[in-house]
Assembly symmetry: C2
């Protein structure tokens, strides 16, 4: 079994959303499984001294334009969500809960959360919205809401985020394959080239 | 005559160097002239609050790896130069001097300066090295050294840098076509798509 493509992302990250639209096809072309790993990128920013793009002068307005263009170029439905950003604790904890209790549902849930936020403009920072998205996939929304409040899954998300930081993750999306790090949706082509030539 | 592709870059910028290797072919494919515009990106960083990549924790070491990969992916000769970065006042002023006095020589000079620094490891921060690179192209190295010290070309570089900042340039490379801004060597594909569909 070849090593997985470790795909780190924050559910509030637009570039993470765009990368998520292409990562599975990339994995399939390269014969690699993809390990989806939602984290809280704000914690990584604290570790690296980074500042969120939208809070930076000039870069903030620029990126909003870039996301619109990327949506057209890659033909991925997108509109700038309000509020933005959100603290995506609820869907992130829920993902890790699903990864242990309904592993086959975790990635479809992640995709649905991303679409709910960046295509449909639903506030995934709210537990009720996260639970509703899960219910639309036939999952148990009440059990999800309970998991989001459970110290076990709070701790799991914290541990996954710390493990990512320890591996050098400093942005979203961030891809690591066999210790080779790639930062940004614009690096998917380079990931593929690297996998095919390694 | 279609509007030019305005190509802003700093001679000390690795991503600027990689973009420079592809920008003319892109312009040719799109039927657009390319206007090369060396600036002092440090001044833009002061305006935007940006910090050079290599000075940032985690991002610095990451980018050195990324440049090595980009060199292989795009098949552009590259090795990390020492010293790095340099303050590229001499070649930048010399470029603007050439753009008025020997316009046909300005872009070949810019390419030669980039290659001298990022492929051959020569210190383009030094006037003598800049003059030597010019002399190898058959240009007058002594006249170049005089131009670099001339208030006229000091002021021209300053004015070009300020004009770039006024247009919203905050990094290198930075491309503007008819007021549409594109930041980074990774956006060349998007520039091309935009030009072809506009």
């Amino acid at each position: 079994m070849p090593a997985a493509i470790d795909f780190y992302f924050d559910f509030a990250s637009p570039y993470g959303y765009f990368a998520a639209a292409r990562i599975e096809a990339l994995g399939a072309r390269c014969g690699r499984p993809v390990a989806w790993k939602p984290i809280m990128i704000g914690s990584a920013f604290k570790a690296s001294g980074n500042v969120p793009l939208v809070e930076q002068p000039l870069k903030g307005p620029y990126c909003r334009r870039d996301w619109d263009r990327l949506s057209r170029l890659w033909q991925v439905p997108y509109r700038f969500p309000e509020p933005f950003p959100v603290v995506a604790l609820a869907p992130s904890r829920a993902f890790w809960w699903l990864s242990e209790t309904r592993p086959e549902a975790a990635v479809p849930f992640a995709r649905a959360i991303y679409a709910a936020y960046f295509a449909a403009g639903r506030n995934i920072g709210e537990v009720a919205v996260t639970a509703a998205v899960a219910a639309e996939l036939g999952l148990d929304g009440s059990a999800l809401a309970a998991a989001v409040a459970d110290p076990v899954w709070k701790q799991r998300l914290k541990a996954e985020t710390e493990a990512a930081i320890a591996r050098g993750v400093f942005g979203s999306p961030f891809i690591i394959v066999e210790d080779e790090p790639f930062w940004g949706a614009d690096r998917l082509e380079m990931v593929e080239e690297w996998l095919k030539s390694s």
